[in-house]
């Protein structure tokens, strides 16, 4: 919809501007050739209204050639040629309207005199159109600023939602139930191991809560949390769960959104270990590549396993959070082969401001 019509205020201002122009134009005509003011208004009024509607076309010109575009000269030429064309149409309309009025009122001042009346139209046409172009550019700029604001707001909401989902996923009840069952199993034959498991579980929950409450955490902290999680799962799965973790020092001090890796590690355990008779080894690798931090989580998979419901939810979540962080500088790559599944996260390597690595 045309922006002038999309707001009552804009429409009123636009129309008001043109309505003040009509008497001015009429006055000018009276000055040029004395006549009753009413006659001058009868000529100038409808013509002003006509031009007011013609000048609305400036919007399409402005939209096709946004300010700050790659070809400013081209834009300038287009705007001018539009102005010239519009005012030519206006002058032509003036000629026709003058003839109609002359015929209707029965007082024809003569063809030459009527043509004189068109001079103010020819002079004012181009500047008026340019004024309209300016007004439209202002509206466009205003609207795009508002749209940008809305986008920022929306992406903030998305980020918040992703965080909430991450936290909810974090407290995966089945993980808790199975862990409690393992503790129950260990309690009689190996009380020491049961206590150790209680500690691990407590540690894991405490850390996931404290990391989850923060804006950014270091990859080192994130990996330490994964260690605790895997240690608990190792009690459940025994020798079936293998872990191969490698991270260079530069990567460990990089900042990431909290609990970013957790859904990936959980998925890796589920598909790489729980769904396989012989279990498997989960590989986690993190390194710096120039200005980027690259984190890989890989697990083997059973080629015959049916696609499980809920698969991809964790991955969706990671993708949404990285998108919210920075759509252009982050990537999530999924490499899926029949017997292997790998997720690679790439994000800008930023270190903690207080220089966490110095501690």
């Amino acid at each position: 919809m045309h922006p002038i019509f999309s707001s009552r205020l804009r429409f009123a201002l636009y129309l008001g501007g043109w309505f003040t122009l009509a008497p001015l134009l009429a006055g000018l005509l009276v000055l040029l050739r004395p006549r009753p003011f009413a006659d001058a208004i009868a000529f100038a009024g409808p013509l002003t209204l006509f031009y007011a509607s013609a000048c609305l076309s400036a919007w399409w010109v402005c939209r096709a050639h946004p300010l700050g575009g790659p070809k400013p000269v081209h834009t300038l030429l287009t705007v001018f040629s539009a102005a010239v064309q519009a005012s030519a149409v206006w002058v032509a309309a003036g000629a026709v309207w003058g003839a109609i009025l002359a015929a209707g009122l029965g007082v024809d001042p003569g063809r030459a005199t009527r043509l004189q009346d068109l001079i103010p139209l020819a002079l004012a046409g181009v500047p008026l159109y340019l004024l309209s172009v300016m007004a439209h550019y202002i509206i466009l700029t205003f609207e795009s600023a508002r749209a940008a604001e809305r986008r920022v707001f929306e992406s903030q909401v998305t980020a918040r939602e992703a965080e909430l989902r991450a936290l909810r996923a974090q407290l995966n009840p089945h993980f808790l139930f199975n862990s409690l069952n393992s503790i129950s199993a260990l309690a009689a034959p190996d009380p020491e191991a049961a206590r150790r498991m209680c500690q691990l579980l407590g540690d894991f929950l405490r850390h996931s809560l404290s990391l989850g409450g923060r804006e950014r955490v270091t990859l080192g902290e994130e990996l330490a949390l994964a260690d605790r999680y895997l240690a608990i799962e190792q009690v459940r799965f025994g020798a079936r769960l293998g872990v191969d973790k490698r991270a260079d020092d530069g990567a460990l001090s990089c900042l990431v959104p909290p609990l970013l890796l957790q859904p990936l590690v959980e998925n890796a355990v589920k598909h790489g270990v729980a769904d396989r008779v012989e279990g498997g080894t989960i590989r986690i690798e993190a390194h710096r590549r120039g200005d980027a931090l690259v984190v890989e989580v890989e697990n083997p998979r059973d080629p015959d396993a049916p696609p499980r419901r809920g698969q991809g939810l964790g991955l969706e979540n990671v993708r949404a959070r990285l998108d919210a962080l920075d759509r252009r500088q982050t990537r999530v790559d999924v490499d899926r082969s029949p017997d292997r599944f790998r997720v690679t996260l790439t994000l800008p390597a930023r270190e903690g401001e207080e220089g966490r690595d110095g501690h």
Binding site: S182, R236, D302, D304
Partner: protein, 268 residues
């Protein structure tokens, strides 16, 4: 009531070591029950249950290869089944397939004792009712008969299609993913499942076995054939009102008139 003369023979199926240990420990304290096997995955479970025909199976749901419901689909009806899982969302399905009880991890001794009482009650009820009709053997069905197809249907979520077919041949279990199916062929009391040049026989009717397959991919082209439409090379008119589907590998299957209508409907 007197205790049973013969102890109940139980099999534990769970892929997690600690979970098996716990059940074994609890059961060792219960009179009148012996654990005859522990299985760490579905394949093993199908094999051992087939060999041992136990009275009772403790069955985990989420396991590698075959899940608990798939195990149930492949074993002979007979053993009482108690599901043991951390997931409460399968409870309804479990009772649809006549599970005796559903234990949620973590559970205590009392809850297990309750489950055992239910197992015994059901066995008692079954043996008295089995007295009348006929020669009630050791493997007399204790519950109303339920077909493997019904179990498979119960295990599926609404709106979800069968992703793989399971066939047990002797003690071997074959898993055939739906996307590798070529066609199904009715053969008396069996259905031949053709996949990648091999075929496996499964007891059941064509309608039963093809029931849960994705109807956008599998079409009943004939009284005796259900075809994966992705395998069709071309269709040839063979006689009036009868056509042949030529598969990509050259095999020819008859297409009935009704089958052709269904096929055309789908390929539109």
């Amino acid at each position: 009531m007197a205790t049973e003369p013969r102890p109940l023979r139980a099999v534990i199926v769970d892929d997690e070591g600690p979970a098996r240990d716990l059940l074994r420990e609890y059961l060792s304290g219960e009179p009148g029950i012996t654990v005859v096997a522990e299985c760490a995955n579905g394949f093993e479970a199908v094999k051992r249950i087939g060999e041992l025909s136990p009275d009772l199976v403790f069955l985990d749901v989420q396991m590698p290869k075959l899940d608990g419901f798939e195990v149930l689909e492949l074993i002979e009806p007979g053993p009482a089944v108690v599901f043991v899982t951390a997931y409460d969302e399968y409870a309804l399905k479990a009772f649809e397939v006549h599970a005796v009880d559903y234990l949620l991890k973590p559970f205590g001794r009392e809850r297990l004792a309750e489950a055992l009482a239910r197992v015994r009650a059901r066995r008692a009820g079954a043996s008295t009712s089995a007295m009348a009709p006929g020669p009630g053997g050791g493997s007399a069905p204790q519950t109303p008969a339920i077909s493997p197809g019904q179990i498979a249907a119960a295990a599926r979520r609404p709106g979800q299609f069968v992703e793989r077919l399971l066939v047990k041949e002797g003690s071997q279990v074959h898993v055939i993913p739906a996307d590798r199916l070529d066609y199904l062929e009715a053969q008396d009391d069996y259905v031949a499942i053709h996949s990648g040049g091999k075929s496996h026989l499964k007891v059941g009717t064509l309608a039963d076995i093809s029931a849960g397959l994705d109807p956008d991919r599998f079409v009943r082209i004939h009284r005796s054939y259900v075809l994966n439409v992705e395998r069709i090379g071309k269709l040839e008119l063979y006689a009036k009102d009868s056509r042949m589907a030529i598969l990509a590998d050259g095999r020819q299957l008859p297409v009935s008139r009704a089958g052709y209508t269904r096929l055309r409907e789908l390929l539109k």
